[in-house]
């Protein structure tokens, strides 16, 4: 059904008007509909369909994993492993959001990478000073403001990289990815209280690390 011509056409339209009596609001989302069609084709053996999903989500997954695993080589390895794992386990996909499914695989891969790093510590965060991490400035951006934002992002990234992996992971999932406490508890396999504690302590640790540059952030919270 998912690869029917009617659904394929529907994904190409800006506003899909498909008479579908199913109550699922997820399938009404054209992006999710496209993902499900690609997933179905990939499960039928189409590598191109799977690679289309990779193209759609590799930026998002890399950004997610790179925030959790500050070493970019290790983050790349984790993302590659996540896509390998997704390809191997396509048949275990039971519907729902492909993006969420891939994100969870990537988070698990990042956690595995961090566990591996604990066993085999490498040079800590060699990429932190890499200027390619800076956001591109718009043509009409205020240089002073842009510089301040860049500096704030740089020190915050460095601070994030210096707190414990568990705290960093909880903060990234909560503050960046928007998961709620219960979802984070389920993903990371710890209790709700532990998740809250990691986030609270992580933010306190960030504030300690940012002691000398906290002025960059004042006036932004309220």
């Amino acid at each position: 059904m998912l690869d029917s011509p009617r659904l394929t056409i529907a994904t190409r339209r800006a506003a899909p008007v498909v008479e579908d009596a199913r109550p699922s609001e997820a399938v009404d989302d054209p992006i999710q509909r496209r993902d499900l069609i690609l997933m179905e084709q990939a499960r039928d053996g189409s590598l191109d369909a799977f690679n289309s999903l990779v193209e759609c989500y590799q930026d998002h997954l890399f950004a997610l994993v790179a925030r959790m695993v500050p070493d970019r080589d290790q983050a790349s390895d984790a993302v590659q492993e996540a896509f390998f794992s997704a390809y191997r386990n396509m048949r275990s996909f039971r519907g729902g959001s492909v993006r969420s499914w891939l994100s969870r695989i990537a988070i698990n891969a990042a956690m595995d990478q961090q566990r591996l790093k604990k066993r085999r510590p490498s040079q800590p965060y060699p990429e932190l000073e890499d200027e390619s991490w800076q956001p591109p400035a718009g043509p009409d951006a205020d240089p002073e403001r842009t510089a301040m934002h860049g500096e704030r992002a740089r020190v915050l990234r460095a601070a994030l990289a210096s707190i414990t992996p568990d705290q960093r992971q909880a903060i990234v999932l909560f503050d960046v990815e928007g998961y709620d406490y219960a979802e984070i508890a389920e993903i990371t396999g710890v209790s709700l209280g532990t998740v809250k504690s990691r986030i609270h302590r992580g933010r306190l640790a960030l504030r300690d690390r940012l002691e000398g540059t906290i002025g960059l952030f004042r006036g932004e919270g309220d």
């Binding site: 499960r43 590799q58 275990s92 390619s132 503050d175 306190l204």
Partner: protein, 229 residues
Amino acid sequence: MPHIPDSLHDTHDLELVAAFAAGDATGPALDAATTLVASCATCAQLHHDLRAIAAAIPAVPAPARTRDFRITSEQAARLGPTGIRGILAAFGSPRLSFAAPLGTGMPALGIIGVLVASGGVLPGGATDGAGSPALDAAAQVAPESAGKENMGALAAESAAPAASADPNLTLSAPASPATTMSEQDAPAATVTAPDDGSRLLLAAGLVLVILGVGLVAIRLLARALARAP
């Protein structure tokens, strides 16, 4: 709210302030945190800073991807399940979800088939006293007709009514009173083989049970493998 001297800040519960800043403090903790933030300037500043940091984290730009993660056909070939795992993966796929009801339905049909086939076989296996009508009839008729004849004759006599009472019995011994049989031959005379239809039904039932149980087992194994990391 009375002002608490900053010298006492070191004794304050900073995690309480962090929970308050995150909106997670409730009940007495909320009251305590509110008091701290309202009365201690350092706690108030901490509360403000924590909120500012939490607000700034999502704005940290995403790092640029350094690699293309698309999978090559060689990698795909290496990653795909092969051999027995590949076959099991096919059984575990949603497209073969009909295998589950099929796998449970087949043994049910098979058991019915076996029971029906057994209904045709048991009268022939009358020696086990399973309580079939034919067996009962034979047991009642035999003592009257056999009189004082030897055991072999008794067996021969009893076989005849049994055969006549049950049309399914096809291979009964000759019912002649003159026939004398040894004690060893007597049971053989009462055992009658099922007809071809019953045998076929029995075999088909057993095959269905085995296939169905096997199908369910393979699917469960495939699902377990699919869920495995």
